[in-house]
Amino acid sequence: MAYQDKLVKTFDYIAKNLNATHTVMAIAAVKGICRPTFTMMDKTEKPETKKYTALREGITEAVAIPVYFICGELAGFGAKVMKKFQDAAAIKKAQKAAEKTGDVVDIEKLKQSPEMTRKIAKNLRFLGVCAAALVVIPSICSIAIKPIVDEIIKPPASPKIPPKKPSAPLNMNTSLAVTKPIVRPSMNSFIGHYGMKAGGV
């Protein structure tokens, strides 16, 4: 068999079997390797921060892979359950109609075709992956990732702000020096910056 035929066979197999679960799992696996590696290669960060971030990214992807798989497969399994209900409903409807007319019901013809079941399973797997991306993984990450990472590695210490010294009582005999007010950098700088101001400034 020439390599062209082998390639065509492989592509044919991929077209029939590739689904959303495989794609997202593959991306999560490569991300789980690449993102921590890139983080560790970053020269601008402190080693402690790098280790913590890389571990967090790695664990997030490690959690995402089985979640995608479970959500996708569970949703795909729903197609089989739906088929049972669909078949039962179609047979019941046909039997009711047959009672009136006296016709014989061909049950096998009423059943959902295997091709249709496969199509629904593929679509349901995609919806399962979407649900995992929208709700399941973000929820698990919010609840579980931080405690797990903190258990393995100590979080990098945040910069300590020195305690304020009590101000000395004002001596009325000394001359008043004009000093600049101390402005501490604040994370609140973005509050109230939503949207555009009048005139686009």
């Binding site: 062209q4 390639l7 492989t10 997202v24 679509n123």
Partner: protein, 201 residues
């Protein structure tokens, strides 16, 4: 009820998205861009400032992924793989030469997947008059199950799959590393040289 659900889950629109790697990834990344910042914003354990900062950072990361996807995967990998397959396999498998581009093939695939009645209705529309070669149009009009040339679809999906991994797992993290902090500073979410929470992957 079950019949309506089955009909919705086997609809052509959903099937087209669920069997197309590019559409799957665009949907999944868009949902991530909603779900992950949303999960951060409803988390009560972290302060308001940190929440807004982390949610903005996560949103920007997913937006970067979408941009990389739109600029790289669709034009380069999706169309590129089709052209490469045409060049490599066109002599031994001449059916691929009937299609000018991947878009034309995917249109054909979509129409060929429809039932005969719907297919004829689609083909009778004015704008689809000159869409395919006369042989392909004849095949679509006369055959109950026209050949869909699944292997061509497999070739396109393989390209999109490889492109998704390269784009989302390797290029997007690099690009986001270079662009997210300047963007956050520009938007006023970050003070120069501040260290903050990392995004989820």
């Amino acid at each position: 009820m079950i019949t309506a659900l089955t009909r919705a889950l086997s609809s052509n629109a959903l099937t087209t998205i669920a069997t197309n790697t590019s559409s799957q990834m665009i949907c999944e990344t868009t949902l991530k861009a909603i779900g992950r910042p949303g999960a951060i914003l409803i988390d009560n354990k972290i302060s308001d400032d940190t929440k807004k900062y982390a949610a903005a950072k996560e949103f920007l990361y997913q937006a970067t992924c979408l941009v990389v996807f739109g600029l790289l995967i669709v034009p380069v990998f999706k169309h590129g793989t089709f052209k490469a397959a045409k060049k490599l396999l066109g002599k031994t498998h001449p059916e691929i030469n009937q299609f000018k581009s991947s878009t034309e093939y995917l249109d054909y695939y979509k129409i060929a997947s429809k039932k005969m009645q719907n297919r004829l209705a689609t083909l009778s529309k004015d704008h689809s008059e000159n869409k395919f070669t006369p042989e392909l149009r004849e095949q679509l009009k006369t055959q109950e199950n026209p050949d869909k040339y699944d292997w061509i679809k497999g070739a396109i999906e393989t390209g999109s799959f490889a492109g998704s991994i390269i784009g989302l797992a390797i290029l997007a993290p690099q690009l986001s590393h270079a662009t997210i902090h300047p963007t956050l500073r520009f938007l006023g979410f970050e003070k120069p040289k501040s260290k903050n929470l990392d995004t989820q992957a």
